[in-house]
């Protein structure tokens, strides 16, 4: 009986994984298609669509824009998120618990609503279709994640080690730089990586505030798919997955993903 159950359990888990990963596998296969339309299985194999993508000026500009924005968002997410996380974990002030609970609200609110709100504010401020505008919009999505991850890492550290440093003669700033920050590295790397991935993949908010002058890669892809469907789309999807995966692997290599998220 228990043996049957464990076989069923295993089959169930495999089915779930197939549900998640089969579409990706199909896309990966199609990206090597020689056909000029989306079909599965492809009638012939070629790398020509990879060449087409890399030679497409609109895609490459979008990729460059998205990369620049992702890096800036990752850095700002950390610089703004770390002090906030520190204050939420280590300092006592009225409303602390309320703010802690509200910090994830931007993720619960419909992105459509956020996008509309951001557009209303950004249009008069002249931020639409600018780098600062896109960075600010993406920060709305990434900051809650960054703060939450850093908050978890920070509260897992406890205060003993820092207090030990202080009794040995370290002033608060010395303690933070020499003791707290090095121990926070897993959280710092994880939160930056998540912020970069979220920003790189972000589409809903971006759609509201991009313009002909400035487009991000997901928006370019979205617009392209609206008009045409050829294996180029599959290639782009594979490239997006590859970039996200690279970031994840870098994190895994440097600190270990499980550790970065405080287990």
């Amino acid at each position: 009986m228990t043996k049957l159950l464990s076989i069923l359990g295993r089959a169930y888990v495999i089915a779930i994984f197939a549900f998640i990963f089969l579409p990706m596998l199909i896309i990966l296969v199609i990206s090597f298609s020689a056909d000029s339309y989306l079909s599965f299985p492809p009638s012939g194999w070629s790398l020509k669509w990879y060449g087409t993508v890399l030679g497409n000026a609109a895609f490459m500009t979008g990729l460059k824009n998205s990369a620049i924005i992702a890096v800036i968002v990752a850095v700002l997410s950390l610089l703004l998120g770390l002090p906030a996380a520190y204050a939420l974990v280590r300092m006592e002030f009225p409303g602390r618990t309320l703010i802690r609970n509200l910090i994830l609200t931007p993720l619960i609110l419909p992105a459509m609503m956020l996008g509309l709100g951001i557009l209303m504010v950004f249009t008069p401020a002249g931020l639409v279709a600018t780098y600062p505008g896109l960075v600010l919009a993406h920060l709305v999505m990434t900051l809650p994640f960054s703060i939450r991850i850093l908050q978890t890492t920070l509260s897992n550290l406890g205060t003993d080690v820092e207090e030990a440093a202080m009794t040995l003669g370290a002033r608060p700033l010395q303690t933070f730089l020499q003791i707290t920050l090095p121990r926070l590295m897993p959280g710092v790397i994880a939160s930056s990586a998540i912020a970069a991935i979220l920003s790189f993949d972000e589409i809903v908010l971006s759609l509201f505030i991009v313009g002909p002058r400035l487009q991000t890669l997901p928006v370019v892809i979205y617009r392209y798919v609206n008009e045409r469907t050829d294996p180029m789309v599959a290639v782009l999807a594979v490239l997006l997955i590859a970039i996200s995966l690279t970031i994840v692997l870098l994190v895994e290599r440097s600190v270990g993903f499980a550790k970065a998220f405080g287990r």
Binding site: V161, A165, G169, R183
Partner: protein, 370 residues
């Protein structure tokens, strides 16, 4: 106003190395966490701060270290009040229960941390780190990471890191409670040995009376934020000042009795049976008041039952090894535990179900008016 500073006292005795003066801390709870705590610590002394959890001993330690600001009172070291100084300006060594080593530094870097902040030259740092590691018998471990060490070794690194800065006082917060039983016994002597060799004044916080009794020069027993008694291990064990101390340190029997002064000689009446009281026993209570009698189990003697004194029935007899533990239910209903020596006359009387008489030497009992 200040009793400690009366001319007579200061004329013939040097001021104490460390003085805790009416130190209080109030979290805003039902009672202060630490309530007007006062005692002195001599230079080089190993003092135990002993009490159950929540008695205020850890709060006291944190106030010492500057991690908590007292609500009122003073801590003076060498005559200087330190309570307004931040932790980094106190020159104290603190060893945490969790060791709190810096995981991203080697053992040597951990120990050198306090010296580096004191701008000690690189050569002196090396020499002093080596000396401190030798003191804790870890001279060959300098290049390791804390995560590569056992619990006992990490403990010793934490001690080395605290003593290398030559602190005014070494504060140990339950340093043994994270170690397994065998290592705990070893570290007990190890810590005391390191302290004796370095001569650093030490405040040792513990809830374990055995640790306090075996390690400390003097023990300050705390309960509910207040100091119950301070004295040598023998003093707090043999001459407990309060019922709390008597029961917290070592095992104790407590008999509820009533003082009777009517029959000429004072006697204690325990559920109708009388206990003769030696006339020289200092007792300051009115006729008929309740007196708690405290007797250690090993002080209890058995004899054949007789008409005077306490009598009862042996209800349980357990072989413990070095002693025979016997429970005697007195005829009045209260139960005494006696630890008898095997193969003694007392043990011969203590068959389960046997009727026995019970007594003890006057010097073995403590009386508390309640």
């Amino acid at each position: 106003m200040n009793l400690h500073l009366s001319p007579a006292a200061s004329a013939d005795t040097a001021p104490p190395h460390i003085r805790i003066d009416r130190l209080s801390f109030d979290y805003g709870g039902a009672r202060p966490a630490v309530d007007a705590l006062s005692f002195d610590i001599a230079k080089g002394e190993f003092i135990g701060l002993l009490g159950p959890s929540g008695c205020g001993k850890s709060t006291t330690l944190r106030m010492f270290a500057g991690l908590l600001a007292p609500t009122s009172g003073q801590i003076t070291i060498g005559g200087q009040n330190i309570v307004s100084r931040p932790p980094w300006d106190r020159n104290l060594g603190l060893v945490f229960q969790s060791y709190a080593l810096f995981p991203h530094m080697t053992v040597a870097q951990n120990v050198a941390f306090g010296l580096r902040l004191r701008k000690v030259s690189k050569e002196d740092q090396r020499a002093r780190v080596a000396e401190a590691l030798r003191a804790v018998r870890l001279e060959s471990f300098g290049a390791r990471r804390p995560s590569e060490l056992s619990g006992g070794q990490q403990q010793r690194v934490a001690i080395a890191r605290a003593i290398v800065i030559e602190p005014e006082i070494l504060l140990l917060d339950e340093p043994l409670s994270n170690l397994d039983a065998r290592l705990r016994d070893e570290m007990r002597f190890e810590i005391r040995d390191i302290q004796t060799r370095t001569g650093i004044t030490t405040l040792f916080v513990t809830h374990d009376q055995q640790e306090a009794l075996t390690m400390c020069d003097r023990i300050a027993v705390m309960n509910a934020g207040k100091l119950e008694q301070i004295g040598t291990p023998a003093e707090v064990y043999d001459r407990a000042a309060t019922p709390f101390v008597a029961n917290f340190i070592g095992r104790a029997n407590n008999l509820a009795t009533t003082l009777s002064l009517s029959a000429g000689q004072p006697t204690l009446v325990c559920d109708g049976q009388t206990l003769p009281l030696p006339t020289d026993l200092p007792i300051n209570a009115a006729n008929g008041s309740s007196i708690a009698v405290m007797v250690r189990p090993h002080a209890i003697r058995l004899r054949p039952p007789s008409s005077d004194g306490l009598t009862g029935t042996v209800v349980r007899r357990v072989f413990v090894g070095s002693t025979i533990e016997t429970a005697i239910k007195l005829d009045g209903g209260q139960t005494l535990i006696a630890e008898l020596r095997p193969n003694s006359d007392d043990t011969a009387l203590a068959a389960e179900g046997a009727r026995v008489g019970v007594d003890w030497l006057a010097r073995d009992m403590r009386l508390f008016a309640s």
